[in-house]
């Protein structure tokens, strides 16, 4: 009963409605609007949190922190192992006497590098494959989509685990790919572009039939101009939103790999690795490493997802707050 006849029949419904200030949306729209506003406020808060995190991670060496791999000792030279949070050591120390706060901030580096690099990779590759498939229907589309389907059919985590395990041993790879977060980022990026490619293809397929594209084509615009001026800008919002969500899931996958011991190798601190270690310690009563590293992980991914959701609303005002 929500959409009664009003906006269905008149030739220019929006125009007519706007001109008269006529609105027939029922009360639930108010709830929707306020929910959206609240969600946006949450998205803004999330953005702030993420910005703060990025800054913190970037300026980490300038902060008055113990180095993340330093094993702390007290005045008498005994090592400070499994110290509960206290002034000066706000997040406590782990089983090797390392400062958990410092490790969490440095661990954020790995997570953010993996998330952002994988996100950029997915955005580029997914958009490239999706737009080629969507703009050139027929054999190009068929071949690319078969490839994408095949790729999507691979079980993500089992394959990622194999690559994560093998990565440091691959002889011909340069050192920064073998050891650091970039290798993991590449791995995750190359395993997750499939769904974006599908979305972009669908957008292209519908946009290329639109009147304004037809008009541009009729006016003799070259393919490149049509794609970059007319289609791509209109397909931007799903690309941005999907990419944002990929960043979140990449961080989770990296953490899972590190948790299982197949991610960024120690002693480089990672949140996943800390949760793994913290889990063992928490069973013995030393709860802090697990709680703080787990919280950092959940808060970051939650912020990314809220931000992505806010973007979705902001970029597409016609959409309701429903997630698909």
């Amino acid at each position: 009963m929500t959409d009664i006849e009003y906006n269905l029949e008149s030739e220019e419904p929006e125009l007519a409605l706007e001109a008269e200030g006529l609105s027939v949306e029922p009360i639930t729209q108010w709830d929707l609007f306020s929910a959206r506003l609240r969600r946006h406020r949450l998205a803004m808060l999330s953005a702030l949190f993420l910005a703060l995190l990025v800054v913190l991670v970037l300026i980490a060496p300038l902060l008055p922190l113990h180095p993340p791999t330093e094993r702390l000792l007290d005045e008498s030279g005994r090592s400070l192992v499994n110290i509960a949070p206290r002034p000066g050591l706000w997040f406590g120390t782990d089983e090797l006497g390392r400062d958990v706060l410092s490790r969490i901030i440095y661990g954020g580096r790995a997570s953010l590098i993996v998330g952002l690099t994988a996100g950029i990779l997915v955005a580029l590759f997914g958009t490239l494959v999706g737009s080629l498939a969507g703009y050139y229907p027929g054999s190009v589309d068929q071949a690319l989509m078969r490839f994408t389907d095949l790729w999507l059919g691979l079980p993500l985590l089992p394959v990622a685990i194999v690559v994560g395990r093998i990565l440091p041993e691959i002889a011909f790879l340069p050192g920064w790919l073998k050891q650091g977060p970039f290798g993991i980022a590449l791995l995750i990026g190359f395993l997750s572009w499939g769904s974006l490619a599908r979305i972009v293809r669908a957008e292209f397929l519908s946009l290329r039939e639109k009147e304004f594209v037809e008009a541009a084509r009729a006016a003799g615009a070259p393919d490149r101009r049509i794609v970059f001026r007319h289609i791509l800008p209109n397909a931007m919002s799903p690309i941005i939103v999907t990419t944002t969500l990929v960043v979140g899931s990449a961080i989770i996958i990296e953490a899972a790999l590190s948790f299982l011991g197949f991610g960024v190798p120690p002693p480089t601190p990672t949140w996943g690795g800390m949760v793994s270690e913290g889990g063992r310690l928490a069973a013995r009563g030393f709860w802090w490493e697990l709680v703080f590293s787990g919280a950092a992980l959940v808060a970051t991914v939650l912020a990314i997802n809220f931000f992505g959701d806010g973007l979705r609303d902001a970029l597409d005002p016609t959409q309701t707050i429903e997630r698909k």
């Binding site: 929707l32 089992p158 685990i161 194999v162």
Partner: protein, 393 residues
């Protein structure tokens, strides 16, 4: 429909081939390849000669792959520590041929039976029969022996599949049985406090890695609960306590639940959030549909409108989500099994990867791949059962 299933099977096979080639190649990149790794393990010294010959470990990559693939699909009847020695022979293939015939017969029955539900039932019965055949006819495949000296891979994997199936299936069932009613209730009470709460909770669940959930449940509901209250409600590790065989039936059920609940819940929570969100959106679509207005205008009672007219339509899109979710649940099982010491293929996989135990890793990857392909096909068929508009061609 027969043609459709055949085509889906062919796609599935191509995916599986690609998967095996990718993982096989990746594994070869590790530490100089299988032969070098084998030589590192003193326990394997007596087998090196035989294994090298049988698996062509000194051959180029593509030949090794071909040997592996041929052996992988070769049935054998005995699994001695050396692995099957017989290659693909007609005599050994008879049970397999019977099974293939059985599957073909099933497909034909499903195809010819007009009633989709009856067809699905037949399919289910055959599925169980096939599982039984594997169990009782002791059919095995030549999957080789563990490079870590843990025995024939077939035995190793097959004795653990059941545990993973139990865990994954329970998790899926839990996610469906809680997530779907939750989403429906949220849709009916849209924008209520409960709905908002559910939405927020789902967001948090989406953003929480499965291992954080598993650890939190394990530490809070098993360890701390016992510490604080003295009640041992759940166990932190394993599938059953020792002495399970001697327990009474009720004790066995209790013991099983005490072990199963937490790991299954860990896997289910995120899926559950997904189902509730998806179900809510799909139910809202249906609630605003014209045919629901028609149902109201016919004078049907509200309950009947929701149950008969809305629910049936709102459940259709969920089927697709289930097929996507299978891969996620398997991934979740890999992580959760390691945390809860669950004796399934997930934990075996992690152990085997750690030592790069080639035959074991390959076998489990393929099992996972096969599971996903089968579930996708089942979901497609189910979709057709639920939505009369779908035509297979």
């Amino acid at each position: 429909m027969l043609a459709y299933i055949t085509r889906r099977l062919v796609y599935g096979l191509v995916t599986l081939l690609a998967l095996s080639i990718i993982v096989f190649t990746l594994l070869q990149l590790s530490g100089g390849g299988p032969l070098d790794r084998l030589k590192l393990n003193p326990r394997m010294a007596p087998y090196i000669q035989a294994l090298t010959e049988q698996w062509g470990l000194d051959q180029p990559l593509y030949k090794q792959y071909w040997t592996w693939l041929r052996n992988y699909v070769s049935p054998c009847t005995s699994t001695d520590p050396q692995g099957c020695t017989s290659s693909f022979g007609l005599k050994n293939a008879i049970p397999i041929i019977m099974l293939v015939l059985a599957i073909a017969a099933t497909a034909f029955v499903v195809y010819s039976v007009k009633n989709h539900w009856r067809g699905a039932l037949v399919l289910l019965v055959w599925f169980v029969a096939i599982l039984f055949a594997f169990r009782n006819m002791s059919i095995a495949f030549n999957w080789g022996i563990s490079f870590q000296g843990a025995g024939p891979v077939w035995d190793l994997v097959f004795s653990r599949v059941g545990a993973t199936f139990r865990l994954g299936f329970t998790a899926l069932l839990l996610a469906l049985m809680v997530g779907i009613p939750l989403g429906i209730y949220q849709a009916i009470r849209q924008y209520s406090f409960f709905d908002q709460l559910g939405t927020t909770a789902a967001f948090v669940a989406f953003s929480t890695p499965i291992f954080v959930i598993a650890l939190a449940l394990q530490i809070l509901l098993a360890l701390k609960l016992e510490q604080w209250t003295g009640v041992k409600l759940f166990y932190v590790t394993g599938m059953n306590n020792p002495g399970y065989g001697e327990m009474s039936f009720l004790q066995q059920i209790a013991d099983t639940l005490q072990h199963l609940t937490l790991p299954a819940l860990s896997i289910a929570l995120i899926s559950l959030a997904g189902y509730s969100r998806f179900q809510r959106a799909s139910m809202l679509d249906v609630l605003h549909s014209d045919y629901l207005r028609t149902a109201k205008a016919k004078g049907l009672p509200r309950r009947r409108i929701i149950v008969k007219h809305a629910l049936r339509n709102a459940l259709i899109p969920i089927v697709t989500l289930v097929s996507l979710d299978v891969a996620f649940i398997i991934g979740g099982a890999i992580i959760t099994e390691s945390i809860f010491g669950w004796p399934g293929i997930g934990r075996l996989y992690i152990v085997a990867i750690g030592t790069v135990d080639y035959p074991v890793v390959m076998s489990i990857v393929m099992i996972i791949g096969i599971g996903i392909v089968i579930m996708n096909i089942v979901a497609d068929i189910l979709y057709g059962v639920m939505d009369p508009r779908v035509r297979y061609d």
